[in-house]
Symmetry: C2
Subunit: 406 residues, 2 copies
């Protein structure tokens, strides 16, 4: 999974596939899709994207695309694909996160919608898991080949989740000159030391891995949160993230309105990020009233307002950096080594560099496809070369959201 | 209905609302939406558009948006809006067309999908009608204030329909100088003559309406067909249309492939249009391989190929004109008077003229929003000032279509 250039998508509003086509990513590389919550601006692009992936990959019956999202996602995908008579040239599975009762608004029962998937599976569908909350709470989604994904609880107007992707630490490189100096013969002992095992030479000398290994490469952590008026139930999961994508729908002066609609202000996002030790906070999911800086006119408010408010909310001593996502923006994230200089090098690139190998210290990037003329769609990507590429695609076409009952 | 600038939409693929925003039309004016068939590229934009209309109209609980489409549409809309917890500030109703058995492919039963709407109505939903075929066959959708809409049967890989909008003929204007010359006193007799009634003056003189009325304004007819490999079951409905929107997915040399996927070639569309007396044939729904003429590169094929093939398929004596729709294109259509020069004046405008009154002879227009960089979405509009504006919005994002079972 680390090595085959997978793309992971987080949320999929209407028009996501159009934005996706504007990026440097390829639909056929999409391996997993995570949906934070079932509001239309985070989900209505999913059936179309699944069809487009189908056109991109041709026939791959052995491949199974994995979708993760709140209870109800399986039904939405199955019904949309089945009623539109859309067969796929690949398999898919929807793993559902079972929300906790506290995630439902008080008036949830007043509009009784059956979220259970009924009827037969779609012809290409595999039966998914129902994932219930463990301690924390947290939902364990997957742990595979050095990458784990957990979900955490958010408070919004409907059940909403955040996803945390954690990379395992990796042992440092073997220092061959030290190995030779200690008299370690080439062969199986090298492999054992590389894996972190202590070995004993024929001479009886005991060699600890720390004697011959370079600095441990610390795993990185990226947290991508859905809409929320309160992220604090995820503090234990988001803690020390290299990157946190946190919504900042309205400016601080609209705090009460933001809360009423289940959203956050820049100050709320910044305080949370700082308190849990986030290295880089990426604001996104802006109200349509805020135009991208590049689209600024004399009348318009821009995301610069939100960025400034987030920065101002940080204590002067905070090490947290803040940026405001823009469409098709990409940001690289360093990987810090345990016992060397841990200062971060954040490179912000407008496009991924074409071909060639990247600095090994820059494996993660955040990108956000360019706004269309009408700020129609706004997307954010976390991309990398040696790990899956993360793309957060949601639509702000109607980011006021359909009026909802809470 | 004639007078309040309504907009009617025909088909609604993903991204339709984005294209719609690029047009001169306003979402709050949308009054009716017609869906030809349930393939995703004709329907997946519907839930998002309904939410966007909601943002545009604010609170209008007395307004009921009418949707018409094949059986299964009601379930798709209800499930999508309900699972996404999308309340609307207006009412809506889905009237379903019950297909005839011949519209189903032979293998339909191999993938058993329940098309019945289950569970309670959406909170803003009104119970719709189930419309069955009458003689012809044709489905009578509505007849209101001088406009009637019927649907006809098409053959595609799933049940597909075409819609025919017919405007009633209108009596000509009263010629006041003739009325005076015949000694008709001003007052109620004017109204009776205008309505087409014969009147008798106090002198005993009988006045026929034809003596004092200008030429009858013939009602116009616009036919908008869904995907089809055979439109001939609609010949009786499409007959003498002023405008026919007919798909031309692939060029003539790919005839067998077009038929296999349930589609038409330019020659098929042109022969049908000519035989049933269509005045203007508008080709649309092109395979992605054909780029808009404006996007032509040395490598690409353009829609010019399709246009030429359609023109070449017409007999030399044909009065049918052919154009190839492009995004955001608009075309005005004359209204011919019965006993005056009936030559048509077709004006092709890139944008609707801003404000001001239009030539009364130009009430209908065909427009097609501009292709995005990736030919992402292609839409076609029939717009007018004194009658509802017709917009055909379908997506060609994956117009190869999800592979389907027939």
């Amino acid at each position: 999974m680390h090595k085959d250039g997978q793309v992971w998508i987080f949320d999929c509003g209407e028009g996501s596939q159009i934005q996706f086509q504007k990026s440097s990513l390829r639909p056929g590389r999409i391996a997993k899709i995570f949906i934070t919550h079932l509001h239309g601006d985070h989900m209505f692009g999913l059936p179309g994207l699944l069809c487009t992936i189908g056109n991109a990959v041709q026939e791959r019956p052995e491949f199974v695309l994995e979708l993760y999202g709140p209870k109800g996602l399986r039904k939405f995908v199955r019904q949309s694909l089945s009623l539109s008579r859309s067969l796929l040239p690949y398999g898919y599975v929807v793993h559902e996160l079972v929300p906790l009762s506290e995630q439902y608004p008080a008036n949830w029962g007043e509009w009784n919608v059956d979220h259970d998937s009924t009827g037969p599976l779609h012809p290409q569908e595999k039966q998914g898991r129902d994932i219930v909350a463990g301690d924390g709470p947290s939902w364990d989604l997957l742990c595979d080949d050095g990458l784990c994904v957990k979900a955490g609880l958010l408070h919004h107007t409907i059940p909403s989740f955040g996803f945390v992707v954690t990379e395992a630490d990796q042992n440092g490189r073997l220092d061959v000159s030290k190995l030779r100096g200690l008299g370690v013969p080439t062969g199986p002992l090298y492999g054992k030391l590389k894996k972190g095992e202590t070995v004993t030479l024929k001479s009886g000398t005991i060699i600890e891995p720390s004697q011959v290994l370079g600095p441990t490469k610390l795993g990185r952590k990226a947290s991508i949160l859905g809409d929320t008026r309160d992220p604090w139930s995820m503090a234990h999961l988001v803690k020390d993230s290299d990157v946190l994508l946190h919504e900042a729908t309205m400016q601080n002066s609209l705090h009460d309105k933001a809360i009423e609609f289940g959203h956050s202000t820049p100050a709320m996002a910044a305080k949370f990020a700082d308190c849990v030790g986030v290295k880089r906070l990426v604001l996104f999911h802006y109200s349509q009233r805020y135009k991208p800086v590049s689209k600024e006119t004399s009348e318009s408010e821009t995301t610069e307002i939100l960025l400034k408010e987030a920065k101002d909310a940080l204590p002067p001593t905070s090490a947290c950096e803040v940026i405001a996502a823009e469409d098709l923006m990409e940001i690289s994230i360093t990987r810090s080594a345990q016992d060397t200089d841990t200062s971060e090098f954040w490179a912000l690139r407008k496009r991924r560099s074409g071909g060639g190998s990247q600095d090994a210290q820059q494996l993660l990037a955040v990108a956000s496809p360019k706004c269309s003329t009408y700020s129609a769609t706004k997307s954010n990507q976390l991309v990398g070369e040696n790990i899956p590429q993360f793309v957060s695609l949601f639509s702000v076409l109607y980011n006021k959201g359909c009026p909802n009952p809470s």
